[in-house]
Amino acid sequence: MNGALRKKLQGYVGFANLPNQVHRKSVKKGFQFTVMVVGESGLGKSTLVNTLFNAPLYPSKDHVLLSEESPKTVGIQVLSTDIEENGVRLKLNVVDTPGFGDFINNEESWKPILETIEGRFDSYLEQENRVNRSKITDLRVNACLYFIAPTGHSLKALDIEFMKRLHKKVNLIPVIAKSDTLTHEEIAAFKERILLDIAHHDIKIYHAQHYDSDDIETINETKDVMSKIPFAIVGSDKIIETPDGRHVRGRKYPWGAIEVDNEEHCDFVKLRQMLVRTHMEELREFTNDIHYENYRTEKLLVLGYQQDNTVFREVDPLAKLEEERALHEAKLVKMEQDMKHVFQQKVQEKESKLTQSEQELYTKHKEMKDALEKQRLDLEEKKRRIEQGRPITPEKTKKKGFGFAGK
């Protein structure tokens, strides 16, 4: 639409009310969001989910009995909950992955996770291809929070392996877990090293775009949030009392208290802002437009669908007419040629037939002539014989007296 003319409105039309209509419809329909949390056990994943949505979604972990066998593979646990705020209903699905990175041999630990994500894509694909598509439930994973242990060094081998395998399938958001164990200088250095590691291994983590139509404030906000990735977070669903008497969410130590909602202390506020307040819809769009589409293309190609590229040609009516006319003319010329060809063929045929019959006649004629000639000669012979008085039949004596002597 670059060449479209921009007209100035001369009065109020009213389509500026469209966003409100969309808003009303969406609120009626409700929203759905699926987030996956991945990381070694003990990094505070459940606590963070509780902190993010300010609700005790995950109960505190009852310890497994000592005598119980620990599971041998990574489990997938889905928690679904409906939360409401100011009339807006959100159906939140949290996919937990207990056991990831906890075994002695973690070589297959990403498989169940990958299978879950692809399985959800598959179910959506199948729903899209149904005859009746009025009710599609979108269970695709919109964001994956990957918890990095606060070692202070660099990414572990397992971190790199996991991210390499999943960055093309889901929006990856790395977070530094339990970051209250690192000093601020250590956090800054750690973040830098992680980003270098990610760039070095060509891992594409989620990166929010900003559009030209956004105002400067939004662009700055987005840049600010994105600069903090990976988010250094601390989670807590308990209320503590700070040294100056405030009651806030945080963790209390003998040497001080860290406040979860304080931007100076940790990046939790930025993470929540990105995930819930500003980029939830973008994450969903990204999942649909990029990750899902890539998956779909791959899957369909594998199934043997051929891509017909001619449907993408630009359709210009005038050119089309010209084309048609040219085609038609070419057709006519061809027909003419064809007919000429046929005509010539027929002529040749007739000619050959005629020459053939000519030949025949000629031979017949010759035959007849010969026969005639023969007959003539015969007759001549006979005539001569009669003229010479020889009997026609030579040895025959005349008994009758008639003869030509009496004359």
């Binding site: 620990s70 041999n105 660099s154 081998a157 003998p254 001080g256 860290i258």
Partner: protein, 315 residues
């Protein structure tokens, strides 16, 4: 000399002077110096190097973690041994620190403890060989590992499967002292719950940690051991940075919401670990290695040699 009726101990009538034997030994030992070998085992990034440097109050070892993006991660467990001599009040301590980078860092950690156990056994084996030679040195260099600091990640839940397997293997060959690394990520309640859980798990899996109860212990030793056994695993925080507090340099970790004093007993148990390791149980660690672990190894080896010798002769 008169003997008390029915009493075993004779009473001395005048000063003999054999009580100076302690100072004679001390002088000899001071001249010779002491040897202490400690090994650190734990995943990368748990603060092992920092803790060792904090315990001995000097920069002895460097962190071997992966810091550059183009640095490949280690594919096997390596053994890095470093010897340093430190002197305090005329007492010379030859310190041998064995680091094990690569432990627990790969995706597949099967068998990562084999290298470590083999190294420990090799040191016993080397000592045994030197002992058995006909012409042996007057004083054999002791490279046997006297203590192994095992670092537990502060998850707050329980021990990891790899921790349990490795602890089982290590406690059979060396004195293991478990510590909870980076314990500043746990609040006091979380720390107590975690410790209790670890202790329960250790009992459940029958893992025997140093200090071992012994018949020789008198009441004082017993109570001391019991206090320490209640505290194990030590929840520690290490730091090489210090700030000045009241005119004295204090080692701390500084943050925007608080300052952790490493040497403050209310903050962490570093002081207890340091005292345990250097002030009270240093000699006992060396002795236990020699008398329990080495003897077990030695008897196994000699019996195996005897059996193979017999088997050879039998044919």
């Amino acid at each position: 000399m008169s003997l008390d009726a029915q009493s075993s101990q004779p009473i001395l009538q005048s000063y003999v002077g054999f009580d100076s034997i302690t100072s004679q030994i001390e002088r000899k030992l001071l001249k010779r110096g002491f040897q202490f070998n400690v090994m650190v085992v734990g995943q990368s990034g748990l603060g092992k190097s920092t803790l060792v440097n904090t315990i001995f109050a000097s920069h002895l070892i460097e962190s071997k973690g992966r810091t550059q993006a183009d640095e490949p991660s280690r594919k096997t467990v390596e053994i890095h041994a470093l010897t340093e001599t430190i002197i305090e009040n005329g007492v010379k301590l030859r310190l041998n620190i064995v680091d094990t980078p690569g432990y627990g860092d790969q995706v597949n950690n099967e068998g990562c403890w084999d290298t470590i156990v083999k190294y420990i056994k090799d040191q016993h084996s080397a000592f045994l060989r030197k002992e058995l030679t006909a012409m042996r040195d007057r004083f054999i260099q002791d490279t046997r590992i006297h203590s192994c600091l095992f670092f537990i990640s502060p998850t707050g839940h329980s021990l990891k499967p790899i921790d349990i397997v490795v602890l089982k293997k290590l406690t059979e060959v060396v004195n293991v002292i478990p510590v909870i690394a980076k314990s500043d990520s746990l609040t006091i309640e979380e720390r107590l719950a975690f410790k209790q859980r670890i202790k329960d798990e250790l009992i459940h899996h029958n893992i025997k940690l140093y200090p071992y109860a012994s018949d020789e212990d008198d009441l004082q030793d017993q109570t001391l051991n019991e206090t320490y056994q209640a505290m194990i695993p030590f929840a520690v925080v290490g730091s090489e940075q210090s700030i000045i507090v009241d005119g004295k340099p204090v080692r701390v970790r500084q943050n925007r919401w608080g300052v952790i004093n490493v040497e403050n007993e209310d903050h962490c148990e570093f002081i207890h670990l340091r005292n345990f390791l250097t002030r009270t149980h240093l000699q006992d660690l060396i002795e236990t290695t020699s008398m329990i672990h080495y003897e077990t190894f030695r008897s196994k080896q000699l019996m195996a040699l005897k059996e193979s010798g017999q088997a050879g002769q039998g044919h």
